[in-house]
Symmetry: C2
Subunit: 131 residues, 2 copies
């Protein structure tokens, strides 16, 4: 069960939950009452958010307050920011590059590709019906 921040924020309900507890800690019930889905469903979402560290749960009596711990989002921020140059810059030069490259794609990737090709053929054979 992969449990990373990217997957955690992929679900719109979880993003809403995150937004809700970002401004103040709320107990699980209060969070769930703000959604149409069942408390159990919200509970599971909260569990996922907690598992990847985006919310921290603190017991207070019989209640459990969920507090956002958004530092984990920096991982997403870092990932996105490394590509900002690609959508900020003009793409004309890249277009031209495409025209040049198309008959002979990047050699580095190709050589890596060739290694995988062998692996891939093995895998294929493994699953193939013909021996």
């Amino acid at each position: 069960m992969r449990r990373d921040v990217f997957q955690a924020i992929a679900d719109p309900t979880r993003r809403e939950i995150l937004n809700m507890v970002a401004y103040q800690p709320l107990n699980i019930n209060t969070v769930s009452l703000n959604f149409d889905v069942s408390r159990a469903a919200v509970y599971k979402h909260l569990k996922i958010l907690a598992e990847c560290g985006l919310v921290e749960v603190k017991q207070k009596g019989r209640e459990r307050f969920c507090e956002a711990r958004l530092e984990g989002l920096s991982q997403v921020s870092d990932w996105v920011e490394q590509y900002r140059k690609f959508w900020t810059a003009k793409f004309d030069s890249l277009e031209i590059y495409l025209d040049k490259i198309q008959s002979k794609p990047n050699s580095k990737l190709i050589s890596k590709a060739n290694k995988n090709l062998k692996k891939k053929k093995n895998v294929s054979r493994k699953y193939s019906s013909k021996r």
Copy 2:
């Protein structure tokens, strides 16, 4: 079939694909050769990326070159950035607020919650075995 950027980048393979085509357009086969999964699987990932606008596909003869169109990531960037203050700021005051609030959670959310509570009871009845 929900098809948004958040979901598109949730899969690590798709993030790798995106990174691969960010630097130069590549045809589908070349992309797939760099992964252990089948071409068909990679094809599906590319389709998802294309559906949410993160890659653009251009036909060139019998080949189809995939080009990254990363502007869509700005949506993710915007979403994350709105929370940066929460992980940059000190949380002490929030901690104190928690202690004050815990016996009486946010009234705005609560009133919204009450509306949903009614809905929720209806829904429950709908699915309930007892009539």
